[in-house]
Amino acid sequence: MGRKLLTEHINVEGINTFEVYRKHGGYRSVEKALKTMTPDEVTEEVKKSGLRGRGGAGFPAGMKWGFLAKPEGVPRYLVCNADESEPGTFKDRQLMTKLPHLLIEGMITGSYALGARTSYIYIRGELLYVLRILEKAIAEAYAAGFLGENILGSGYSLDLHVHPGAGAYICGEETALLESLEGKRGNPRNKPPFPAVQGLYARPTVVNNVETIAAVPIIVNEGGDEYAKIGIGKSTGTKLISACGHLNKPGIYEIELGLPVEEFIYSDEYCGGIWKGRELKAVVAGGSSVPILPKELILKTAAGENRLMSYESLSDGGFITGTMLGSGGFIAMDETTCIVKNTWNFSRFYHHESCGQCSPCREGTGWLEKVLHRLEHGHGSMHDIDLIVSVAKQIEGNTICPLGEAAAWPVAAAVRHFRHEFEWHVTNPKEATVPGAVYRGAAVLA
């Protein structure tokens, strides 16, 4: 059984209260950092840990912290990205609901490292009830002297606030999030300048995912080198995987990076296999934006090696035969799933969520949704299959933010691996549009 770092105490009665959390070793990292370490030493430990951003991009967190500009006399900010909305991803909600103090502790220790005097947690508006849980926990932390003026007599002061969004996937993109936090539409900004130089209120800002910040207390307590020993290669530490779709036991699992995908899907410790005794057909391993893989390629790489739950192993084979770990939103589909319908559904999502700033994304996602709709409903042509691939290609790389890629990749991958299924919808429109009908042929492996 893998080590649990983030969720070790998640089932302890009352762990959402300051008192119980503290009794179980909570806020030790704040004491250690503020009393015995300089801010740069804290950053150094995060660099050594190899911790990678848990929101989806997997960028080394310590390096991101290192980029923060620190001009004299200019306030800087740490902003937590709790705008969890990548389809398939529901780990941060669980973490914040059950362990609000872990996130707050990470925010304090992280803000100290970055020299922030005011920090924000930007939470998606749908989770207003979680916002209340966090506000209650923050009030407890203030009362206990872990927030506010002169924390633990160290001379360091910090204010922490929670800010709700209002329903917009795009606000998970860090510059859109900052716009939203400034009270504007969530339109991503052109980069450069990057947030590290001009972020919130045009001041230096670091934006980190909930799970990334929640790992900071563990890294500070145990040391970056110790943390780096967990996991495999450059995929250090543990990761929360939110598993959904056609599984016997969907839910949130903390895994040590490096766990074989097969074990994750089939063992009783994790997802317990595919529901209703059915066969696995395909998996979207890291949130809806990453390429879909057929069963054969998610369990084994093209070279025949066991596929592991790690950044490197999941992307083995590039986008031809691999995918990405992404946010850890693991969507399993059984043999009765229509890949065309699923791809159309995802395209509708991206069309709906495109902010409309960049023409390739605004128009392209609309085209994808429309053409996939007609393929799914039996009005498509063979040309349409090439058309969606071509539209996807023209979105990719031509937009301000990565929503363009996020919309394009799932379409390209679905056609790459399940082309026969799209063709079947064209050649057998009557059969394909019967409710529940699904193409039973094999996937294309490369």
Partner: protein, 190 residues
């Protein structure tokens, strides 16, 4: 009959005003526009679950910004209802993971029971059906959100009926309450 006088200008309650005052302390003084999204949430809860142009103007006045700055934001974010809604807005997740576990069937079922199509309000004025994108509860699909409450695993007619019955009983829960809402079932015991 046409009303003879203009409707009274909306005003925030004392509780809402206090909450707004508290929120404004979260941002630098010259950046109070940052409070726009949270204040719109408060306004929507105060004034019947939607933000009319008059209510949006009130928000603009509260923050000392131009009305257009509120309109452009309220029309961007999906949580703000710009039209009159029923007592309960059922926000049905339609995205992939929920679809895989039966959100299409759930939507059809809700349309049948309530007598409203998606985008409409039921004849009794109780339920407005609204389709939304991923609510970040994919492991407990299919999911419906009603205000701050998540209803999960709505994969049987019984589960749906239980939700609707509960809502029929429920008195409007004010957004300003400190009282913790019921946790979704999925978060209670695991």
């Amino acid at each position: 009959m046409e009303p003879t006088t203009a409707p009274a200008k909306p005003q925030f309650s004392a509780a809402a005003q206090a909450e707004i005052k508290r929120l404004l302390t979260h941002y630098p003084e010259d950046r109070s526009k940052s409070a726009l999204l949270p204040i719109l949430h408060i306004a929507q809860a105060e004034f019947g679950g939607w933000v009319s142009p008059e209510v949006q103007d009130l928000v603009a006045e509260t923050l000392n910004i131009k009305p257009i700055e509120v309109y452009e934001v309220s029309s961007f974010y999906t949580m703000y209802n710009l039209k009159l809604v029923g007592k309960h807005v059922l926000e049905i997740c339609r995205t992939g993971p929920c679809m895989l576990r039966g959100s299409d069937e759930l939507t059809e079922h809700l349309e049948r029971i309530t007598g409203a199509k998606v985008g409409e309000t039921s004849p009794d004025g109780l339920f407005t059906l609204k389709e939304v994108e991923c609510l970040a509860a994919c492991g407990f699909a299919p999911v419906v959100q009603v205000r701050e409450q998540y209803y999960e695993q709505l994969d049987t007619p019984e589960a749906v009926d239980a939700m609707l019955n509960e809502l029929r009983e429920q008195i409007h829960r004010p957004i300003l309450s400190w009282e913790e809402n019921e946790l979704p079932n999925s978060l209670k015991n695991n």
